[in-house]
Symmetry: C2
DNA sequence: TTCTATGCAAACGATTTGCAGGGAG
DNA sequence: CTCCCTGCAAATCGTTTGCATAGAA
């Protein structure tokens, strides 16, 4: 009745194994907290911030501290396992590195729309050619209003 | 020697007068703090955050509190006098409404590049046509590395 | 006179840090 | 055995809010 639902991916998810391997190869240590964070991130389809992630992780492993989640995410980014994207005002969400798409966030309903990863490639190249500025166009979401909220 | 330098624009700057008029027409009150904030913003060519602005304002009017600056900026935005843009991690800068260009912020040196206001118009239209999402493409700066910092 | 705007202090949310102990390699 | 990683508590940073008063209209 009050049992915790099972992970949507098993501990043998190949992506989890790959990420842990990458971590190990880069000299990082594989700990309970790191396994839990990575596992939770892979199990959740949504857009999880560090706080959300910590909450989810804690449902299974109450010892894991919020600050550990932040440090873990930080380490994962340094090691190239994860990337973060800003969804508007302050909140950052985490993704497996590679294959990150663009995000569009509706200011009214908070909904998140996924847009193709190559959406701004052309503009990015133009900016680079003209001003020499190499833009990471996916690092911030686009803000605006979604179709439904435009009444 | 230790005298405060004069404003770069006078109290009779036509843009200041226009903004104050707009404020008045919208039912807002013209106070010392509001005059000071607006005057400082117009006098500074750069990219001022609320904090920077408060510091500058205080050089002349030490009574004006940081929270007043935030509330003033907020009111100005509601009344259509100003707009803010996010230059990366949390920090927002303020501009006179209208004629806001795109901003590109270098992650290494922090430098800010101004890009044409219509830079993303085409993409914005494509996004609107395809997903019905009306993006405010200028609300967040582009992050990346400027030509100089790319070694 | 009326009601908005202000100063001040305290609250806030997200993230970071210092420190001493724990556990991976 | 060494050094990275962790838990915990406290600090930080930018911004917001509650309250009583000052002051614009």
């Amino acid at each position: 009745m009050s049992r915790v639902p099972p992970d949507r991916t098993g501990p043998d998810d190949p992506r989890l194994a790959a990420a842990l391997e990458q971590l190990r190869l880069a000299g990082g240590r594989v700990t309970r907290a790191r396994r839990a964070v990575l596992g939770t991130l892979l199990a959740e389809p949504g857009h999880l911030s560090a706080e959300d992630l910590a909450k989810r992780v804690r449902e299974r492993h109450p010892e894991v501290h919020l600050s550990t989640v932040y440090r873990t995410l930080d380490a994962f980014e340094r090691l190239g396992v994860l990337t973060h994207v800003h969804l508007g005002h302050g909140r950052a969400i985490y993704h497996l590195a590679g294959g990150v798409s663009h995000h569009a966030v509706c200011e009214s309903c908070g909904g998140v729309l996924h847009l193709p990863a190559d959406l701004l490639d052309e503009v990015r190249e133009r900016i680079e050619a003209t001003w020499g500025f190499a833009a990471d166009t996916r690092h911030f979401a686009l803000v605006g209003r979604c179709a439904a909220c435009r009444t």
